[in-house]
Subunit: 402 residues, 2 copies
C-alpha cells in the first residue's frame, strides 16, 4: 500500500494503542531433520496462549531469499518498503553508535587497513586491530583540519570507524575508496554530482593527511571509506499513520532506525525486564510502541541453540506484562531469522502473530515456525503488510470507497 | 495481470459460461473466542459439497487491512484493480439511485446542512432530516436555472442528495465545498483545471441561489457538495476478456458498478429466488453472469448473527439451481466481510471457491473462513486475481509464449 493511499484512510482522532514486539532473530531451523527449531523447542505458554486467539503466519521481511540486515528488517515491520527506503552504510554506522547526525552531514563507513610501500591494500581490516587501538588512531585523525567543514572520526569497533563531514553544501554522491579486494591501491573518491565535487576535494585532503599521520602505525596505516550518505528525509509515522510512536530498544542501531521514521526513543534499558518497565511508565503517552528484544538474536549468532531457546523463554515470561496494559493490537514477530545452526541472519520467513479484539483467529494453537504455516496470515506475508493490518485492527483506518 | 497482457491471451470464440455468485458481506467473525463465524455456523450442505470439489481459499478485496466499500469490493472481483479504477463519490451517488449519468455529466454528492447567521456550518447533516423533507427541498432546488447547463437534484436518503450538471465542456476537477468540520464556513468550490473554471461559476451560482431558497427551511438551510466527478471511461469486459457479461442485482449501486465495466443489467428482482429465475431465463444470452445476493450483508450490518446465518442458508438452498444450468466455471465469494460482531464492512479476507471441470480440488470439504485457510487459492489471494483464474478454468485463455 502506498503511503499516499494509506494516509487518506487514516482516522485522525483514534486513541487505540498498538504494540509491536520484535524478538530479534526469532526464526530458526531445526539442527537435526525432524528436530525442533529454537522457538518450537522453547517452553512458551504465554506466546502459545496468545497464538491461540491471534491470527498467525510467517512473514517475509524483504522478499524471497533475501537475508535482511537489521535496518531493512525493521523498516519493513514499521510499514516502510525496505527496497524503497534504503539507508546508506555511512548513515547506518552513525545510527549504530548513536552519533547525532545532522541533516546536511555526509557520513561514511571507514575501515582501518594495511597498505604496502606501493600504496596497495594488503589487508582491508588492518589485522582486525582491537577497539582500543582504533580509539587511539581516531584521536590522531581528528587533528586533521579541513577548510570550511567540521570533521568527526569515531570508533565503531575493531577496525571499523565512522567518518562524518559537517558543513554547508556538501554532497554524498561519492564512490567508495574501498576496492573490496587486496593487491590494488585504494580507489579515487569519484563524485557523481556537482555538489559532491567540492566534498571530494575535502575527502582527498583527509585521505592524504590520514595516510601521513598513520604511516608509522602499521598494520593500521591507511583508511578506506565507503557508503557515503546523508540522513534520509522520509515520511514520518505521525504523518503517514497518524501515530505518536515510541521505541524501546537497548542498542543504538535500532533506536536510530526508529528515529528515522519519527519514533521517540525512550530510556535505555539493560534487560528485557527494564524494557517492559519503560513501556509501563510511558503507556499513556504514545499510540504505538516498538519494543525490541535483542538477546535472542545474539544467541543465534553465537550458534548457541540452547541459549536462544532460553532467551525466547525469558521473553515469554514477560509477555503478560504487555497484555496487562490492554493494548488494542499486539503484534509479535522478529526482524529476521537467525538460525543458531547458521550463526547468522537468514532469509527464512519469521513467525508472526497479530492479536486484537477484531482479529479472526485461525486454528494455530502454538507459536512456532511449522504451526504458523497454516495461519490466517499465510506462510509468506510481506512484512510491510503488517502495519496496515495492525492499523485496521486498531480501528484506525476508514473504509475505502463507498 | 495488466489488461493489455490478458487481452492478447483471450480466445475470441469460446462459448463457455462463467458464473460469479457474490454473497454480499459473506465473511464474518466468531462472536466468542472458539465460536463459529456466521458461515461456519450455517448449515450449508450445497456450498460444502461444492467446496469439496472446488479449489478454495480466502481472497483479499483491496489489500491488507483495507476495508472495501461496495464499489471497490466488486471491481476487484470483476478483475479491475480497485486502486487503479476508482469511482468518484458523485458518480457513485448517481449509480446508487439508478440515475442515468451521461458521459459529459458532472456529478457531486450533496448534503443538506445547517449554517448559522454568519454562514458557518453548525451541522453537516442538517439534523438528519427525513427523506420526505429532502424530497420537498430537492423540488425547490430544481427550480434554479443555470445558463447553458441542465441541473438535476435528486434525493438519495435523509440528508443526502445527488447533484448533476449536464452541458457541453463541463469539468469535474473541483474541490469539495464540504469543510468536513463544523464552526467554519463552507469552502469555495475551487477549480483545478481550465475546463472546470466555467463549471465553478455555475456551481457558485447554484450555491448562492440554494442558500436563498433554503434560508427559511431550518435546519436544512444550505447544501454542501463534494466528490465532483464524471462517469469514468474504462476498458470493458467485452474488450478485455471477450465476455458478453450480465449482472443480476437488486440494488442500483451494484447494477451501476456492473454497467461501468460493460455488463448488461438484467431485470430487477425482489428476492434471491427471483434472481435465479432471471439467471435461468437469460442463460443462453451471455457468457458471464454476476449474481448479487444482498441480504447477507444487510443482516451483518444490523449486527444480527442469527439472521446472517439464515440468509446464508437461504442462498445455499438456491445453489443447485446454478449447478443445474451446468456452468463451466462457478465462483462463489463475497465482495467483503461484514462481521455481525462489528456491524460494518471489514478488511478480513473473504472465503472463496472456484469450481470447474478443470480445477484442482484441495482438501477443503466445508466452505468456511477457517476451513478455506488451507485451500489451493491460499489464505490471501488478491480478489483481482480471480477473474484470470475463472477465464483459464473456462478454457478462455491461450498459452503464453511458445
Amino acid at each position: 500500500m502506498e503511503f499516499e493511499f494509506i494516509k487518506q484512510l487514516v482516522k485522525p482522532d483514534e486513541t487505540t494503542k498498538i504494540v509491536l514486539l520484535v524478538l530479534d532473530g526469532l526464526g530458526g531451523l531445526p539442527v537435526e531433520l525432524d528436530g525442533a527449531t529454537e522457538l518450537e523447542a522453547a517452553d512458551t505458554p504465554n506466546l502459545d496462549a496468545l497464538a491461540a486467539r491471534s491470527i498467525c503466519g510467517l512473514q517475509e521481511p524483504i522478499g524471497p531469499g533475501i537475508t535482511p540486515g537489521s535496518g531493512p528488517g525493521h523498516l519493513g515491520l514499521f510499514g516502510y518498503d525496505p527496497l524503497k527506503y534504503q539507508i546508506g552504510r555511512g548513515v547506518l554506522s552513525a545510527l549504530g553508535i548513536d552519533f547525532d547526525l545532522q541533516e546536511e552531514d555526509v557520513a561514511a563507513r571507514g575501515n582501518f587497513c594495511t597498505v604496502d610501500e606501493e600504496g596497495k591494500v594488503v589487508d582491508r581490516r588492518a589485522g582486525r586491530i582491537p577497539s582500543e587501538k582504533n580509539e587511539a588512531l581516531c584521536a590522531l585523525l581528528r587533528q586533521i583540519q579541513l577548510p570550511g567543514a567540521e570533521l568527526f572520526v569515531r570508533t565503531v569497533k575493531e577496525y571499523r570507524l565512522l567518518w562524518v563531514l559537517r558543513g554547508q553544501g556538501l554532497g554524498a554522491e561519492i564512490a567508495a575508496t574501498d576496492p573490496q579486494e587486496t593487491g590494488v591501491a585504494p580507489l579515487e573518491p569519484k563524485p557523481s554530482s556537482k555538489e559532491s565535487e567540492k566534498t571530494v576535494r575535502l575527502v582527498k585532503q583527509f585521505l592524504k593527511e590520514a595516510h601521513e599521520i598513520l604511516s608509522d602505525h602499521q598494520p593500521a596505516n591507511m583508511v578506506l571509506l565507503r557508503g557515503f550518505s546523508k540522513r534520509p528525509v522520509w515520511p514520518l509515522l505521525s504523518h503517514v499513520y497518524g501515530l505518536r510512536a515510541a521505541a524501546i530498544a537497548r542498542y543504538p542501531m535500532y533506536r536510530g532506525v526508529a528515529r528515522l521514521v519519527g519514533m521517540q526513543t525512550l530510556g535505555s534499558s539493560d534487560s528485557v525486564e527494564e524494557e517492559f518497565d519503560v513501556l509501563e511508565q510511558h503507556w499513556d503517552d504514545y499510540d504505538f510502541f516498538f519494543v525490541h528484544v535483542k538477546r535472542i538474536d545474539s544467541a543465534g549468532e553465537d550458534g548457541d541453540f540452547e541459549r536462544k531457546v532460553a532467551r525466547i523463554e525469558e521473553a515469554d515470561t514477560q509477555l503478560p506484562r504487555i497484555l496487562d496494559l490492554e493494548p488494542d493490537v499486539l503484534v509479535v514477530t522478529g526482524d529476521h531469522s537467525t538460525p543458531s545452526k547458521m550463526r547468522y541472519h537468514s532469509w527464512h520467513p519469521v513467525p508472526v502473530m497479530l492479536w486484537s479484539e477484531h482479529c479472526r483467529p485461525d486454528r494455530v494453537k502454538k507459536f512456532g515456525e511449522r504451526t504458523c504455516l497454516t495461519g490466517g496470515l499465510g506462510p509468506r506475508i510481506p512484512a510491510v503488510d503488517l502495519m496496515p493490518l495492525a492499523m485496521a485492527h486498531a480501528g484506525r483506518l476508514k473504509k475505502f470507497g463507498a
